[in-house]
Symmetry: C2
DNA sequence: AGATTAATGCAAATAACTTGCATTTGTCAA
DNA sequence: TTGACAAATGCAAGTTATTTGCATTAATCT
């Protein structure tokens, strides 16, 4: 388990290691799929780690801002996150059961292998984020 | 303007043509970019078309369910929509100003041309939706 | 062990969206 | 044209995800 690697890193960076923090990181390593605040909250409860849902939200924000997590854009009204250090990859999302499967590596190199998973692709979402030509010149803060 | 084409189609399908419906379709043709309920509501107000925000939500749902609109997945807490009959394309979304620019056609054929727009791509989102191998066999309703 | 300050819990606030229900209004048929 | 009928609407209230304020707790450092 690589949770310790992140914990060490957090300590180096002078962040406190709390029970919630450690367990949430653990949960991400165990789940190996994108998770929402509510899902994490449920998993914590199962592990008898009793924390407020607010704490989960704050912890996700903390881990996101400090680059331990990244957001995954699923078609849902909830926000989903996964470990940031995972190799760049994409997802296969089932319309029916909602299962999220990984496509290892970038699809650009793997598009031909995707169908091998038996997944019927009905549509896809591709969005590029960055800076437009105008903003690129005068990028201030934020 | 192609609003009439949709209006005709709606009439053929026995849907009513209301002021809100006609104006919202118009707004999508004029905007030529993904819009949220709130944005549409503001544009309606500017046009002195006074309808409740609820009506806008219901109309978006109606147009979505009847395949006149499709959802665009932007990184936002709001839902965005655009005309469904637009040619398959993707978006360039600026981190700073939020501007949404179109990439004509599918990026697979256009990836080399994207940089010509001067956009600095910092990351992208690609998600495939469809049916996984298991669900593919026993796809029931919905 | 005690001080410092980040992290937490709890309650209340927001924000986006949805629902229930009584009223209005397109449409169609007479 | 008019009236009936169902679809569409407005308004108020509800729901869901997420955020914020503030007093309390607890991790870490000395």
């Amino acid at each position: 388990m690589q949770t310790k690697k992140i914990i060490n890193d957090l300590q180096k960076r002078n962040f406190r290691i709390t029970k919630a923090r450690r367990e949430i990181i653990n949960i991400f390593f165990q789940a190996r799929k994108p998770l929402s605040a509510k899902e994490i909250y449920k998993k914590l409860t199962k592990k008898h780690v009793i924390v407020d849902l607010t704490t989960v939200y704050r912890e996700l924000l903390f881990l996101l801002e400090n680059d331990y997590l990244k957001e995954v854009h699923l078609r849902s009204n909830e926000r989903f996150f996964e470990l940031a250090n995972l190799a760049h990859h994409h997802h296969l999302i089932c319309d029916k059961c909602g299962k999220v499967d990984d496509i290892d590596g970038c699809f650009l190199q793997n598009l031909d292998k995707i169908m091998g998973k038996g997944f019927l692709i009905k549509r896809h979402v591709l969005e590029f984020y960055g800076l437009c030509a105008e903003c690129r010149g005068n990028y201030g803060g934020q």
